[in-house]
Structures are given as structure tokens and as C-alpha cells.
């Protein structure tokens, strides 16, 4: 007799895959290729081409990238293809079973990393996770904090949307009722459609807003790398990104509700 699953929904930071371990081991321990003894590259040996045992690294490190957000997706794709040609199991099908197992792990890590980093939203979320931010938790505590201090305005329901959301929810309720009764109100549908379009436009704008915060973030990383003091506060920039992501998330869920309500019975 077993007990129900209890998923831990806390921060994923203890996941070793999210912990940065420098590839160039300072002590020089196991930094050489297991096969030919040459200095090992990140994932495969540059001397003999053999796939190396996977090191528990974060996705940025995997691609040998700094933790900057405004990254060149075209260059990332190119690197993804280059690494795929080294790591993919199909190209290591004749290696021994240990190497094949490494190839499978390395290749899945590569795919997971590429999938996460190529998408602007997932990339930002992942970075925030690496920074120790649990998105929902953070937003809640940030909201509490903001209320207490009256400092930055952060709410689960974005305040600039409060009125609209209320209105929209009423209309959606009406639409559901009508569908149930088999009635049809083109004017209402048109109104909801218009609001949906507005929400989508807002979401686009939020993506632009996020990208502008990236610039501040990247400047901080840049400054750290060169040993200078950053002009912006790391935590503040982080919180701004969390705020945008939360608002975006909220709108996305709303659009999903609208789609669901409009599709029922159609």
C-alpha cells in the first residue's frame, strides 16, 4: 500500500542541473578526456571527438554563455547544430555502451538547454530560477511587501487591468449562459473578441517591456564580469522581470479562458 504522490513544489535550485560547476576545474582534476587524455572540452573532446561524461551545469554554462538575457538566437541555433553533430546518439551508435549513455544524457541536456534558452520567456524564467526566485512565491511575497511599504506596486491581478478583467469576466459569464441556452449574441461575441485582441496586444507590449529590462540586467552581468560596480540594483531588476512575467502570465490565462468560452459549443 503506497501513499499518494507528494510533489515538492519548492524552488528547483537544489537540482544539480541548475547548479553552476565550472568546466575548467581549478585543480585540474578530471579536466582531461577520459579516452585520449587531452584537455577536455565542455561536452566532447576537441582532440579525439569522444563524448565526455556530463557535468552538472546550468544551461547558460552548457552553451558557454554568460547569464545575459539578450542573446543571439541565430548564433545559439548554430551552436545547437554544431553540438548536436557531436553529441547526438545517432552519431555515437557504434560507441561502447558507457559512451552511448553519456551521449544520450549530453544530448538531452543540450536539447533541454536549447529549448529553454531560445524562447525569450522561458529563458527569463530560467534565469530567475537560477537567481533563486520562485516565480509565484516571489510575486506573492513581493505583493505583500509592496502593500506593506507602499513601495513598488505589485499585485497578482495587475492593477491596470482590474477594471477590464472584471468587465470581461462578466461578459464571459454571459456568453457561457447564452451558449448553454443555445442563444447567439453577435454583438457580445464581437465585444469579447475585441477585448481579446486588446489583451494580446498588451501581451506583445509586455514582451517589449521585458526586453528593455534585459538591457539593465545584461549591464549588471557585464559590470560584474569586468569588476565594476553596476549602476542598477540586481534585486530591483530581478523584481521588475518577475512583475512583467506575472502580468504576462495573468493575461495569457485570461486569453485562454476567453478562447475556451468562445469555443464551447462551436
Amino acid at each position: 500500500m503506497f501513499f499518494a504522490v507528494c510533489k515538492i513544489s519548492v524552488n528547483d535550485m537544489t537540482n544539480p542541473a541548475n547548479t553552476t560547476i565550472p568546466l575548467e576545474n581549478a585543480d585540474g582534476v578530471s579536466a582531461s578526456c577520459w579516452s585520449c587524455g587531452e584537455m577536455r572540452a565542455a561536452h566532447f573532446c576537441t582532440a579525439c571527438g569522444k563524448v565526455q561524461p556530463p557535468a552538472p551545469v546550468d544551461y547558460f554554462t552548457f552553451f558557454e554563455l554568460p547569464r545575459k538575457l539578450d542573446l543571439n538566437v541565430i548564433a545559439l541555433e548554430k551552436e545547437f547544430y554544431i553540438l548536436s553533430r557531436k553529441l547526438h546518439p545517432d552519431l555515437n551508435a557504434r560507441s561502447d555502451s558507457q559512451e552511448q549513455a553519456w551521449s544520450l544524457e549530453q544530448s538531452s541536456l543540450l536539447n533541454d538547454a536549447y529549448r529553454t534558452l531560445k524562447d525569450p520567456i522561458r529563458r527569463t524564467q530560467y534565469l530567475l530560477q537560477l537567481e533563486g526566485v520562485e516565480l509565484e512565491e516571489q510575486s506573492k511575497s513581493a505583493t505583500e511587501q509592496a502593500r506593506a511599504t507602499g513601495d513598488v506596486k505589485k499585485q497578482i491581478v495587475p492593477p491596470d487591468l482590474l477594471e477590464e478583467v472584471f468587465e470581461l469576466n462578466m461578459q464571459l459569464e454571459e456568453l457561457r449562459m447564452q451558449k448553454k441556452m443555445g442563444e447567439d449574441d453577435p454583438a457580445l461575441l464581437e465585444e469579447i473578441g475585441k477585448q481579446k485582441l486588446e489583451l494580446e496586444t498588451k501581451n506583445e507590449a509586455l514582451l517589449d517591456e521585458l526586453k528593455s529590462i534585459w538591457t539593465s540586467w545584461d549591464a549588471i552581468i557585464e559590470a560584474e564580469a569586468t569588476g565594476q560596480s553596476a549602476s542598477a540594483d540586481r534585486k530591483q531588476v530581478r523584481d521588475q522581470m518577475v512583475d512583467v512575467l506575472n502580468r504576462r502570465n495573468y493575461i495569457r490565462n485570461l486569453v485562454r479562458d476567453v478562447n475556451a468560452a468562445m469555443e464551447v459549443g462551436n
Binding site: F2, A4, Y81, S108, N111, D112
Partner: protein
């Protein structure tokens, strides 16, 4: 005879037909069966001695002894009883009477029962034999194609079938992706390609980005219950209704009549792709005759709803890929059902362009599998730089509180892909945790496919919530899920027990392999031996004739002595069981009699010049004695 044990074949294990292909030089070729046909009908029957018969010869059994034969078995692969109600209503599958709940399906053929992987294994074994006959060497490794939209259980079942057939399945490749490999091998150009694959029983659509030899699947979608079979069933329903209405009897339960009608409507379906109308004229068992004319217009109206079901998956794939139809550079048609003009019209409308029809829709998947087999074996000049990056067609999730699916790997993720989840206990000292793995897109666990239930055991005693078990889900390059677990606080490996929801256990597969695999090895050895002995007889007979010919006199005493020695050696080994020794002796004698054969040829030529014909010259079979390069023939 050279034995290349590393030769990897590509196999298309289809609903209607199956094929085996391999890479010959720089192009893939289909290996024909004994009857010379490239297509092996995916039909299995038991003959009167309870021996399995596969392919064209099994087709006759469909009508004569329908209760001893089965077709379209692919529809049952990796499925449970509750999944196949639709199939049971439309297909003459006879389930075993003693089927227990939760057990893998078994089909009744005569008084024997078989699981779907075992039936598929019989088809695979026939393909394996065809390839072995062709190569004159054993084949033990294969790439097998599956519908892109096959779930984990269906993939696992296919892999099991391979193992049962004595094949190491090096890779499962998605059918539309395989087709794109065959397409891309010739084309060698970059761009976005959509593959529309409507086969006998399944529909897939895949959108790929071709970039300097990399075939990257961006999105895939499909329906594993949709294909040419469904069209056949529509036509059959009409015929059966007609017969019931006009003649007053219901033939639905007369298996022989149903198969007779099925054969006729398939003929009609094929004809209606090129003819404006078709006259059905069926001699029903027991005398009555059914006739009806079907026009193309009627046919198209009838099948429209069925082919319209491909629209949803195509639109979803485009949406998932983030592409508009006009961004697709080419649409490739795969599968026999894409010969139907109405299907082509639909594709044209969907993607707003004329589809590419240059490929043989029946063979392209097998050819692509051969290309992939070549890549796996290290590649060649033709496949240099080619690499396939495929995706998982369905999201992978875990059941969480409230029966909700928590998705951890989303559909269309490039594979291999992984996800890590952490679990803990709910009560003090709890040693076990049960985890339910799901596949599918639905919100609720009950609407998704249950892949497996894992019991995490051996968690060290700790207060509730303290243990931290890390479970790693890894989808490999075959699209099959692998799971591993570790308790992180104590560092102990938590043990995982996998209970595949609809699959055979390792032990079951093992048991099935031993039977057939041992037999296959033995069969192969015997065939090699029989074949070698056959050649011995031929070459010795040829030698006897040679000795009587004029040419014999031209040989030196030494040469004659040598030949006699080799003849004796061959006769000696021929009596034993070692086919390789026999082969060696044949080769030696073949070589040793080369001059005799030449002399006989000269004599024949000079005799012919004198006005006699070759037969009279008593050339014998000398020059036609099996040469080492001659293709081996078995059976």
C-alpha cells in the same frame, strides 16, 4: 561468401504492407521477397499444421480460413482492451477467451493465441529472412519505423516485436521523418518541408526544417486511428447494407463473405483514384451475386468526412510550429491513401500549394529507414552530414493531487529530452511513494494515456516531508521513456519498479524471444547447410560432365590429380554439418576447375564455329557451376 554481421536494415512495419530496405552504395533500395514483390502484405495466418504463414500466401487464408488469419495488427499494438472497442466493431479481431483484465491483448488464430507484438514479430521475421536471402548473410540489426503519433506503449510494443523476431532494434524512427530523409537525400536543399502521411491505419503530419543536412522536426501531429482501412470500412458498410436491404440477409457475421467483400471494395477504392466509376461485382459465398456501380463522385462524398479528419492535426502542427501555410516550401505525400485525388486536393488547399508527388508513397518510408540505418552504422558519402533531430509527439506528465496532469515535458520537444522532479513523503517513516506517469495533452489524468506506475521503494525512514527523491524522466532518441530515481538526503538509490500499463514485461518478451530466436538461429543454420549441399551436388555433377568432355584430355596429370584431391575433400566435408567448411571446399574446387571450364568453353566455341550448336558440344554445366560471386539462394 562474406558475412557482414553489421549490416543494418531499415524496416517499414506498416498496417497494410511491410517492407525492408538497405543502403546500396549511395541510394536506398527495397529488398524484394521471394515472389519478387517489394511489398509484404502485413497479414499473418496459421496453416493447417499450425505453422505461421506471412504475406501474400497468408492473404488467401483471409478468405478461406478467416478465423486463422489476421491483418492490420498494427492497430492493436500497445493498446488495452478499452482502447480498441472501435477496432473490434470494424475488424475481425478475435480476442482470446481467457483474457484477464490488465493483461496484454491476445488474438486468437485457430486454437492458438498471440499478442500483437508476436504477430508483428512474424512479419518482421519474414522481412529479416527476405533480407538474409538477398544478402546471403545473417541480419540481426534493424531500424524500424513507427507512426510519429505513436505513444510510448505503442513504441515499446514495436521494439518488443523486433526483439521477439531476433532483431536488435537500433532505432525507432517516425515514419514521416523517415520519408523526409529519403526525400532530402536527393534534394539536398534547405527549407521547411511538411510531410503528410496517410497510410493504411494511421495519419501523421510533420513539419521539418532542413538545414545543411540537419533534419529538425519542428512539430508533429496525427491520429493513430485514421487511414485507408477506415475508407475500406465505409465502402464495406454500404455493400453490407445493400445486401441486407436487397437480398434480406445480414452477412456481417459471415467472416468469409466479409473478407470477399473487403477484397472487392479495396479494388474499387484503388480504381476510383483513376476511373470515373467502378462496377462492384462480387460472388458471395453460397451463390448470390452482388453488383453495384460506384461513381467517383459518390466515393468522394463518402470519404470526405474521413479525410477531413486530417485537417485538425495539420492546422495544429502548423500552429505549434508557429508557421503559416505559405511559409512551407514543400509538402511531401506519403502513404498509399495519398493516391486518392480528393486527398491531394485537400492537401493542396490546406498548404496552398501543389504537393510533391515524386516519391513512391508505398516505399519512401522504408527507404528513409534504410538511410537512417546507414547513418547509425557510421554513414557513407551519401549520408555524410545528415542528422535527424526528432521530437516527442505527446506531452509527458505526472498525476498530481486532484487527478490533474502536471506536464513535465511538452509535446514537440526535441528528443532526447529530460525532466527532473522531486518527491517527498506524506507520513513519518513512509518508505514507498507511488508515481503515475501519463502521456497526452488533456488536463485530467483520466483523459491521458497511462504509461506506467512507478513505485519508489526503499526510501530511508525519515519524518514526513524530509526525504527528497529526485526522479529523472528521460525520453530517448526512440521516443521511449526511461526513469531513474535517487533519494538525495541519504544518497541511496530508490528502487524503481516499472509496471508498463499496456506492455509486455521484460521476462515475457524474453520468453517469447527464446522460442523464436532459437528457432530462427537454427533455421538459418539449416538453410545455410541445405543451400551449401545443394551447391555441392551441382558442382560435382558439373565436374562429372567435365570429365567426359574433350577438354578433360587437355588437362595435365597434375591438374587432374589436384582436382581429384579437392573433389574428395568436398565429398568428405559435405557429409558433415559445418556449412562453412563445405563452402570453403566448394570455393576451392570452383577455383581449381577454372581452367577446365575455360577449356570446355573453348571447345564449345570451336565446335560451334564448325556448325554444331552448343548442346551438341556437350558443354555440360561446367561453366555454369556456381561461382563464388553467385548470389546465394535459400529455401
Amino acid at each position: 561468401m562474406s558475412t557482414n554481421t553489421d549490416r543494418i536494415v531499415g524496416i517499414d512495419l506498416g498496417t497494410t504492407n511491410s517492407l525492408v530496405a538497405f543502403m546500396q552504395g549511395d541510394s536506398p533500395v527495397v529488398i524484394p521477397g521471394e515472389d519478387g514483390s517489394n511489398l509484404l502484405p502485413s497479414v499473418v495466418a496459421l496453416d493447417t499444421n499450425n505453422h505461421p504463414v506471412v504475406g501474400n500466401s497468408a492473404r488467401n487464408f483471409l478468405i478461406e480460413t478467416p478465423e486463422r488469419s489476421v491483418y492490420s495488427i498494427k492497430r492493436l499494438m500497445g493498446r488495452g482492451t478499452e482502447d480498441i472497442q472501435q477496432e473490434l466493431a470494424l475488424f475481425p479481431f478475435h480476442l482470446a477467451d481467457d483474457l484477464q483484465a490488465g493483461e496484454v491483448l491476445r488474438i486468437k488464430l485457430g486454437d492458438k493465441t498471440f499478442t500483437p507484438p508476436e504477430i508483428s514479430a512474424l512479419i518482421l521475421r519474414q522481412l529479416k529472412r527476405n533480407a538474409e536471402r538477398y544478402f546471403g548473410a545473417q541480419v540481426s540489426k534493424a531500424v524500424i519505423t513507427v507512426p510519429a503519433y505513436f505513444n510510448d506503449a505503442q513504441r515499446q510494443a514495436t521494439k518488443d516485436a523486433g526483439r521477439i523476431a531476433g532483431l536488435e532494434v537500433l532505432r525507432l524512427v517516425n515514419e514521416p521523418t523517415a520519408a523526409s530523409l529519403a526525400y532530402g537525400l536527393d534534394k539536398k536543399q534547405n527549407g521547411i518541408v511538411a510531410v503528410y502521411d496517410l497510410g493504411g491505419g494511421t495519419f501523421d503530419v510533420s513539419i521539418l526544417k532542413l538545414h545543411d543536412g540537419i533534419f529538425e522536426v519542428i512539430a508533429t501531429n496525427g491520429d493513430t486511428h485514421l487511414g485507408g482501412d477506415d475508407i475500406d470500412n465505409l465502402l464495406m458498410a454500404i455493400a453490407l447494407d445493400d445486401i441486407q436491404g436487397d437480398m434480406g440477409f445480414d452477412l456481417r457475421h459471415n467472416a468469409e463473405a466479409v473478407q470477399t467483400i473487403r477484397k472487392a471494395v479495396i479494388e474499387a477504392k484503388i480504381a476510383l483514384s483513376s476511373e470515373p466509376s467502378f462496377k462492384l461485382d462480387i460472388d458471395l459465398p453460397g451463390g448470390p451475386r452482388y453488383r453495384r456501380e460506384v461513381t467517383r463522385e459518390q466515393f468522394e462524398k463518402l470519404v470526405q468526412p474521413t479525410i477531413d479528419r486530417t485537417v485538425g492535426p495539420c492546422k495544429q502542427a502548423l500552429k505549434d510550429a508557429g508557421l503559416k501555410p505559405e511559409q512551407i516550401d514543400e509538402v511531401v505525400l506519403v502513404g498509399g491513401s495519398t493516391r486518392i485525388p480528393k486527398v491531394r486536393a485537400l492537401v493542396k488547399e490546406l498548404f496552398q500549394r501543389e504537393p510533391h508527388t515524386g516519391l513512391n508513397p508505398d516505399e519512401v518510408v522504408a527507404l528513409g529507414a534504410a538511410v537512417q540505418a546507414n547513418i547509425l552504422s557510421g554513414g557513407s558519402e551519401a549520408t555524410e552530414n545528415m542528422l535527424l533531430l526528432d521530437v516527442t509527439p505527446l506531452s509527458l506528465g505526472i498525476e498530481v493531487a486532484g487527478g490533474v496532469t502536471d506536464k513535465i515535458i511538452l509535446r514537440n520537444s526535441t528528443i532526447p529530452a529530460s525532466a527532473t522532479q522531486h518527491y517527498t513523503t506524506q507520513i513519518d517513516g513512509q518508505a514507498n511513494v507511488a508515481i503515475h506517469v501519463l502521456q497526452g495533452e488533456r488536463e485530467l489524468a483520466k483523459d491521458c494515456r497511462s504509461l506506467a506506475r512507478f513505485d519508489l521503494k526503499g526510501i530511508p525512514p525519515m519524518a514526513a516531508g524530509m526525504p527528497r527523491v529526485e526522479v529523472k524522466f528521460l525520453i530517448d532518441a526512440n521516443g521511449i521513456l526511461n526513469v531513474s530515481a535517487r533519494e538525495q538526503r541519504s544518497g541511496t538509490e530508490a528502487e524503481i519498479q516499472v509496471q508498463p500499463s499496456y506492455g509486455l514485461t521484460d521476462e515475457q518478451v524474453e520468453g517469447m524471444i527464446l522460442d523464436s530466436f532459437d528457432n530462427a538461429e537454427e533455421d538459418f543454420r539449416r538453410r545455410q547447410l541445405i543451400e551449401a549441399r545443394g551447391e555441392t551436388t551441382t558442382i560435382l555433377a558439373a565436374l562429372e560432365k567435365g570429365k567426359k568432355s574433350a577438354a578433360w584430355g587437355h588437362l595435365t596429370t597434375d591438374e587432374k590429380k589436384q582436382i581429384a584431391k579437392m573433389e574428395k575433400a568436398l565429398t568428405a566435408v559435405n557429409a558433415e554439418e559445418d556449412y562453412q567448411a563445405i563452402r570453403k571446399a566448394i570455393d576451392a574446387l570452383n577455383h581449381g576447375t577454372m581452367r577446365l571450364a575455360e577449356l570446355m568453353m573453348d571447345t564449345a566455341v570451336s565446335t560451334a564455329l564448325k556448325g554444331k550448336n552448343m548442346d551438341e558440344a556437350d558443354m555440360g554445366e561446367g561453366p555454369t557451376a556456381p561461382h563464388p560471386m553467385a548470389k546465394a539462394e535459400f529455401e
